[in-house]
Symmetry: C3
Subunit: 469 residues, 3 copies
């Protein structure tokens, strides 16, 4: 009875396939981590301070964890999630940790369980399963080592063998932590990514003020369409100067538009004056995806489209606790109609890279693989968010490979805020891909030498190439 860290984790049970998977994995398990899309805090790498207590590090910020406990009746307050009105919440790390440990059985069969067991075993040397009886002992172990020098962010970055990691910052961010990292002389490669939702989505909180601020920062006239676009160009260049190779766009849908310049200008004017017409606001978001794609054509930033999440589905939880509290729910997402205006404009460009993600797996084989399998500008992002899991990643390969091939995909994104879990997430992805390749070889659909080459591409090279890192 130990943690789920068997050397054969996630490999197929049949002996020959397992042996193939082991061989493939042996060839790639020590490759450095390329993390081209994620949400770790650049402040960690800048200040290099010790991480806080085990609960604040591993439980409180992880929406995968607290959403599951909440679904089974545990209150967010009791897990230390801060309320917006400042009402008191649990602050004792040990108490939060115990609550989590008592409910750890809920995660059986989930990727969170695999990641967490991996972190306990490989980072903290804890093989004994976590439950109510072991909670305190494990808490103490973790709390102790978190004070050690070699558990500070930069040391972990190096121990994790991270070749490069991208964080994500809003368009108005001053990138001060990135500047501090650069100025520090530390050699870890941390780059930013341009996330302009707050200044392209009229529904974003404070949109109008955000545009004013964008004007101040850039010296551009964000009261005019031309000035507004120039401001984006400036910010993109600024982000590029801090290593950015991509932009990221979390629109509710994949809808795009390609208005004439005159029509776009007029739309911008109405939006800038605060139009409350939902269709106009939607159309503006749609137009801005195409504008971003055109800028990408010019400046080389890779464009990532992450659509299809209904954010903050529970207004009550949103009011009490704010964004990112586990209440973002996937919705049915169309790509074939939605992307057509953008694709008509720039889809045939061979030097542009647009990476598509989805939360609607029914689009893999029906829409995304056929689109990425023909448009030069399109590539498929990996299985995302709820689907970033063994079964989800397996379905992704099974439903996209036959039409798009492997080479129209872009490797793995860990997409996480949970820094300690990064090696676990890449390890799970590498294992699942090796298992998939092993099956192809065992079924004689791929030669073994090809599988070895592909294992390296999926674990390392494709991400570097697609993200230009």
């Amino acid at each position: 009875m130990v943690a789920l860290t068997d050397p054969d984790l996630l490999f197929p049970p049949e002996a020959h396939s397992r042996s193939l998977a082991r061989d493939l994995y042996a060839g790639i398990k020590d490759l450095p981590i390329v993390s081209p899309h994620g949400h770790t805090d650049p402040r960690w790498y800048a200040l290099n301070e010790p991480f806080p207590d085990p609960a604040q590090l591993l439980i409180v910020p992880d929406h995968y964890i607290f959403r599951m406990l909440f679904s089974q009746g545990v209150r967010l307050e009791d897990l230390g999630v801060a309320s917006l009105d400042g009402a008191p919440v649990e602050t004792d790390g040990r108490t939060i940790w115990r609550r989590f440990a008592e409910h750890y059985y809920l995660f059986r069969g989930t990727p969170t369980r695999l990641w967490f067991d991996h972190v306990l075993a490989h980072l903290f040397g804890i093989e004994e399963p976590l439950d109510a009886t072991t909670a305190d002992r494990h808490y103490d172990t973790i709390a102790t080592v978190l004070q050690w020098e070699n558990f500070r962010p930069r040391a972990l970055f190096e121990r994790f063998n991270i070749e490069v990691i991208a964080t994500t910052e809003g368009a108005l961010d001053d990138l001060e932590w990135h500047k501090m990292i650069r100025d520090s002389g530390w050699e870890g490669r941390v780059v930013t990514a341009y996330r302009p939702d707050a200044v392209v989505d009229p529904d974003f909180e404070g949109f109008s003020a955000n545009l004013d601020r964008l004007g101040e920062i850039t010296g551009c006239d964000t009261g005019s369409w031309a000035g507004y676009l120039d401001a984006h160009r400036q910010r993109r260049a600024f982000f590029k100067s801090f290593g950015a190779t991509s932009s990221d766009h979390g629109h509710p849908t994949a809808e795009t538009a390609n208005l004439s310049d005159a029509a776009a200008q007029e739309l911008f004017n109405r939006i800038r004056r605060g139009s409350q017409d939902e269709r106009e606001r939607k159309l503006f978001r749609a137009q801005m995806l195409t504008e971003m794609a055109k800028m990408s054509r010019d400046d080389g930033l890779v464009l990532q489209i992450h659509p299809g999440s209904w954010r903050n589905h529970s207004p009550s939880v949103f009011q009490r606790f704010g964004r990112d509290k586990g209440f973002d729910i996937p919705t049915r997402t169309d790509y074939v109609t939605a992307l057509k205006p953008l694709l008509d404009c720039v889809g045939l460009e061979r030097d542009l890279t647009v990476i598509l993600f989805t939360l609607d797996e029914s689009s893999y084989a029906r829409e995304l693989a056929p689109l990425a399998g023909v448009y030069p500008a399109l590539k498929l992002g990996p299985a995302w968010w709820f689907h970033d899991s063994p079964e989800g990643m397996r379905r992704f390969r099974e439903m996209t490979t036959e039409t798009a091939g492997f080479y129209n995909t872009v490797g793995f994104n860990d997409d996480t805020r949970a820094f300690p879990s990064i090696p676990a997430r890449h390890d799970v992805a590498r294992r699942v891909d090796c298992a998939f390749l092993a099956r192809l070889v065992a079924e004689h659909r791929l030669r073994e030498d090809e599988a070895h080459e592909l294992a390296r591409e999926l674990a390392h090279t494709l991400a570097k190439k697609a993200y230009r890192l």
Copy 2:
């Protein structure tokens, strides 16, 4: 060449996984049956009379069976399905049985085949395959034993090791059979469930008269919104007095609404006067789901939502043979938008249980698991109807577990009118779950001791807990 009743039925072929599945199954195969949702006739348990001839028991009422034969050109009349206009249909059980036997090969690869072989072998001791050449012999065997005392309903109930079974009755039902069961002193536990479709759906045949009748039964003024709601409360209490722990709702969609009391009252008045406005009738159904959820919050009945079936798709068959003739076809079903009004109202309640079912598997990973994985009030019903099958149940686990976990699911529902097939259906479900758990263990994604614990939960405990039985 024997019936499909191998001890390793449905277990994975690979030796180690198979051995794990066997061990898991050995630990749970004799657990009593909890059947929290089904459609057996309480009259059987009340009167305890012998079942009719083999065809009337096993063929004529089973829409899985006659729909398949109909699809291949066999007329419903020739299978003994009664026509509404009283036109003559086949009544000779042996003739019907022979027609079925000649076409039994059509069921290869279907769950009906597994259930039927299981019933033949385990209930009637028939191992020799059913076909045209053996039809008569098997008919005679079954016809004989059906006359025996130990093949009467209560004896079978006990032999099947049924701990508790729920039937389903309409809101206007007097529950006389349930009363007779209770008064009989027999110890079998048979409970009812509240199914108010006929008095909440304005499109139901005789809706207006049904509401009049509801008023008579309860003494409430079902001409007023308040009185109508009170009448529901009374009937729910009456059903609870006969053991009901749940209500069940078969709406065409999952749409819900949460109108102000004034607006709901006004809507009710228009509906009560016979509004023919389709939107109003739809809105009323939507509002009533939320009303039922609020009553559930108060009286503790578990709310089951079974949406997404286009009933009676062929008007010609409906006119000649009526409802439930195999022509109910699944449709694409949205949950994220549809359920929001209900969830905004009661979704965070920790003492309420709403169980969601679907006929649209594309919603498992995209909508249902993410919703049930965060809202305390929501749980996922098992793979349902067309998906209540080995592949269907496997897809259910593969597509829901990683986001919702096992503990936001509620065990198995046999959902059947076919009493003799109940052990077969639970056996198939238990085997599929053991096979799934064995795979997780074989891939080192779950410890073996955890799998044993989960096997018991899925086979027995979760249903009891979720349905409060």
Copy 3:
């Protein structure tokens, strides 16, 4: 390191299942090929001339191939795809072949790879993998044998063991090649199929002129609804005289209508006068599916519905290169609502066969299997186009069999223009079906004798029966 032509190709790795699959396959691998739906050129069989150079035969006409290369930045011009404006494109077969060979690794994991390796090995005796270093050698080998007598179309037809093949011709086609085949005395059985898109779809290029031409050919007044329908009846009879047993319909959606005769007549008149009302044009297409079904009821032609492709998604590629250039993208497709008018009209007919195809796999278990599992007129076509692949065919069986059974499916369609790949495509389909059946047997869900019988049905008999060949 050899081509992917292992005798166990596509069989499950586990030893017992593999052995079962081998036995099943051994029993059916030499059955003749029935190809009831495809797009080979009847001119080949009529003239029996040598095929052109390797590139013109195997690369240039294959949209699976050039779409993948295009997606990775290779220009269509450089692959010899003719441009509409006559701008020069690569014409040197060897150069095109080299470009393909250099990019052959892109097809890893795709069905194209399996088909191509099969053709190289089994038709041309080439076992050495294709890549940049072997390109020239393989080109020479193929170019040489293509000049041989025994590599001409009729010789290959016989070597491929084709029992019967259907081509597809437009309604206005004079079937001259079919006449030449018939008159030649050659015994190969090549039949046509009636594809009237150009005269039933108002959006088809030259629709009005097409109807004029239809009138000329038939002597019917295609200015009137009655005459137009008569013209169809005549052409169908003409096609039947050249062996046609089916018609084929590639509408954008599965929408059908069943207007009164008066309303249909009036709609026709508006369409004939060139109505630009999109709803009317759509309604006309919908009505014509039902008209074709009614004619099928009368003349026995099997009706095939192939909906759900957004043709020519890139206007730029369409303008430069025309139709069928890899830019047809699947879309979400509804059947339950769309087919209802047709089904209400003829769905219960036991002598009519309507075969449904889909590009939207989410409809398999939700809509198509439930419909085909009850309506006598409906059957399911095999996994189609992007889904005509090992994983796609496996999903088809897993998602349709439990509700529709095997006997409401119609065997395999190769659907190809790529004549040399026909044996490869049937071989892949047979292997995937044997692997599926082997799994059912290994899991004790099917007896071995039944699996052998089914393997024959799926490989040969069902197609002959369903297509009346």
